[in-house]
């Protein structure tokens, strides 16, 4: 078992012939992900690496191959459209790796995918991996191993760091999800915590937050109220200087919220383990796996 993706994931890659898309397409194929299609407008009919059919549109790709998941490697100005295209074409999960998507685009994309009943992960995220089954995105496969820990994180390389330390310590993962650090993203901590709580194979959860916003506080509230499984949390940016002021409006809306101290307090109040350093995850998780 796992969350969001598994060995039945049939992937279409949007932007498969681009620089990043082609590199990671190969990585995912090597990892064993079922890459069933690629999309590049104008290259419909060609094949990627001699095996993966390329289509002009996601709709064509889904119709021809039954792809149920899409991953997006297109440049930022086209990412919002690519997400909506995938959602409209009928996949169940869209993973947007692209960094630098304008946030106002996301204010329209978010209700669009909700209306379509599609799960979006990202944008500006490393994607997700279910070790030994499927990898969708850019998380390096070799740092992961199958096991009992669900990992969810707002950042990319920090996630790798922690997963790598877990793996080196012999602690494997059910699924690692990078939800992305943008102000508006498709899937939040709570969505992932809920999925991990339901997943029978997940025995503990490692969660990496960042300063800014209140997602971590809400996640802590969720842990307190709804989770039986242990959760260990970390907040990056504890020593970051308070953000350059976003005018009056920023100060009004966020007030005092969004600081590392506040988030860690919420973690503590929810009975979560707190990792002060990335490496602390190893012992804290090990203790909770019993």
């Amino acid at each position: 078992m796992s969350v969001f993706i598994d060995k039945n994931t049939k992937l279409v890659i949007q932007g498969i012939t681009g620089r990043d898309g082609s590199f990671h397409a190969k990585q995912m194929m090597e990892y064993g992900t079922q890459v069933v299609a690629g999309v590049t407008p104008g290259k419909g009919g060609q094949k990627f690496e001699g095996t993966v059919p390329i289509f002009n549109t996601v709709m064509d790709a889904v119709k021809a191959t039954g792809a149920n998941t899409s991953v997006i490697y297109v440049p930022p100005p086209f990412a919002a459209d690519a997400i909506m295209e995938a959602a409209a074409a009928g996949v169940q999960l869209v993973v947007c790796i692209t960094e630098g998507v304008p946030v106002l685009d996301m204010t329209k994309v978010y209700p669009f995918v909700k209306e379509k009943g599609v799960r979006l992960i990202g944008p500006n995220c490393p994607g997700l991996i279910t070790p030994g089954e499927s990898k969708v995105g850019i998380i390096p496969g070799r740092i992961c191993m199958p096991g009992p820990v669900g990992v969810v994180s707002r950042s990319g390389t920090l996630t790798y760091e922690i997963v790598y330390q877990l793996t080196r310590a012999g602690i494997g993962q059910t699924t690692c999800v990078g939800i992305g650090g943008d102000p508006i993203n498709g899937t939040n901590f709570i969505d992932c915590l809920e999925a991990f709580e339901k997943d029978p194979k997940t025995k503990a959860v490692a969660m990496m937050g960042e300063i800014g916003g209140t997602d971590e506080q809400e996640a802590a509230e969720f842990v307190k109220k709804h989770m039986k499984k242990p959760v260990v949390g970390f907040i990056a940016g504890q020593t970051a200087p308070p953000g350059r002021r976003m005018g009056h409006a920023g100060a009004i809306i966020s007030g005092s919220s969004g600081t590392a101290a506040e988030k860690l307090e919420a973690f503590a109040a929810a009975g979560m383990g707190i990792a002060k350093r990335p490496k602390d995850f190893v012992e804290l998780i090990r203790a909770r796996l019993g």
């Binding site: 990043d20 590199f23 990671h24 930022p76 100005p77 960094e99 630098g100 998507v101 304008p102 946030v103 106002l104 996301m106 204010t107 329209k108 978010y110 209700p111 490393p126 850019i138 998380i139 390096p140 740092i143 994180s153 707002r154 950042s155 990319g156 390389t157 920090l158 790798y160 760091e161 790598y164 650090g181 102000p183 508006i184 990496m208 960042e210 300063i211 800014g212 916003g213 209140t214 997602d215 970390f234 990056a236 940016g237 504890q238 020593t239 970051a240 200087p241 002021r245 976003m246 005018g247 009056h248 409006a249 920023g250 100060a251 009004i252 809306i253 007030g255 002060k276 350093r277 490496k279």
Partner: protein, 379 residues
């Protein structure tokens, strides 16, 4: 990207917002000439990307052109929270009856642009928000429908009992919203929105912050960037496609990924050091970025040790190693460097570094502790 008041006002004027005439001056003589042209009392207002300029003496009322010249002389060149005033806005002074606040921001929680309005506008609006939150009305806008008139009117009536003023304010909110969306803002505000004694609505101050991710597709907005008002090292970093924020410590950090960069800074502090900066070289593999990063960091005289922390995912660690070698060959380092590399092509990277006389570790904590010690003068 922050816009100056005069830039934000120019944009808002284009959407029909009623704003007193104003022009920018960079010399006292220009300020005097503008005041003379208007033939009425003016405000001289420092144009800097920082709040609290009023309390710092950067905003002055001037009865005569001579007065404007004098005040401009005082303000131009003034230091406000570390930024030098290079420009002032000379604008017709308004008769102020009452001051309201109108702002929009993209809100993470509702995932929508959210209006905030208050009849208690002016410089103390944060205090109003903190102490009397019931005086602020929050109205989220669904961008699929835009700002409907009924919501704008609801806000108008929250500000003013009089229907004519409510309608006028509603119209200004729709104009502000249009400007906000079309200019790729993450924030836009009018504070104060003034009612004059004769019942006219005017925007006396305007502020806009642009989402940097919008700049590529909005060249006219991107052209408004005023590099003279920014930290030079940050401008340099941006031109090199690096995310860089200068801090006060002595451990220069070069990291890939924002989360890991913050965690690295946290760890520097955890082990008793002080980071000299936040620097994210981003995801793509490019030796050039490493060269630029080193150039920017070594330009800071406070830096006593340099710490690389690279976890290779997309980033190929051999590219980073090559960048370090290239950069240090061109400009030999004057401070010690600690390199932590792991991930994609780690073996190649290690070989490149070793061959060029560098050592590197694959353990983050070890590297951070060593850099902190070196910055403190240890070995």
């Amino acid at each position: 990207m922050n816009l100056h008041e005069y830039q934000a006002k120019d944009i808002l004027r284009g959407y029909g917002v009623n704003i007193p005439p104003g022009k920018v001056a960079t010399t006292p003589a220009e300020a005097e000439a503008i005041a003379k042209e208007y033939g009425t009392a003016v405000m001289v207002k420092a144009q800097v990307h920082v709040g609290g300029r009023g309390k710092a003496g950067g905003v002055k009322f001037c009865k005569t052109p001579a007065d404007a010249k004098e005040k401009a002389t005082a303000i131009l060149g003034m230091d406000i929270k570390g930024l030098t005033v290079e420009k002032v806005l000379v604008t017709v002074a308004a008769d102020i009856g009452s001051e309201a606040y109108v702002g929009i921001i993209v809100d993470r929680a509702t995932k929508k642009p959210v209006f905030m309005v208050s009849a208690a506008g002016g410089i103390d609006i944060e205090q109003v928000a903190a102490e009397t939150p019931e005086k602020i009305l929050y109205v989220p806008v669904d961008p699929r429908y835009g700002l409907p008139t009924y919501d704008a009117m609801r806000m108008g009536f929250f500000l003013f009992g009089d229907v004519k003023l409510a309608r006028g304010a509603a119209k200004i909110m729709q104009q502000l919203y249009a400007a906000f969306m079309a200019s790729g803002c993450s924030l836009a505000e009018i504070n104060p929105l003034v009612v004059t004694p004769t019942g006219e609505l005017i925007a006396v101050d305007g502020k806009m912050v642009i989402d940097d991710n919008e700049l590529d597709r909005l060249p006219a907005i991107a052209a408004l960037r005023d590099v003279s008002s920014e930290e030079p090292s940050e401008v340099d970093a941006r031109n090199a496609n690096l995310t860089f924020i200068k801090l006060d410590g002595d451990v220069g950090c070069v990291v890939n990924g924002a989360g890991l960069a913050m965690a690295t800074m946290d760890l520097v502090k955890y082990y008793g050091g002080e980071p000299a900066n936040f620097l994210d070289i981003g995801g793509s593999s490019n030796p050039e970025k490493v060269v630029n990063a080193l150039r920017i960091i070594t330009a800071d005289p406070n830096v006593k040790a340099i710490l690389f922390n690279i976890f290779g995912g997309i980033t190929r660690t051999d590219d980073v190693a090559n960048g370090i070698v290239t950069a240090t060959k061109a400009n030999p380092l004057k401070v010690p460097i600690v390199i932590r590399l792991t991930g994609t092509n780690e073996e190649i990277a290690m070989r490149i570094l070793t061959e060029n006389g560098f050592s590197a570790s694959s353990d983050m904590d070890e590297a951070v502790q060593k850099a902190v010690a070196l910055a403190k003068g240890g070995k």
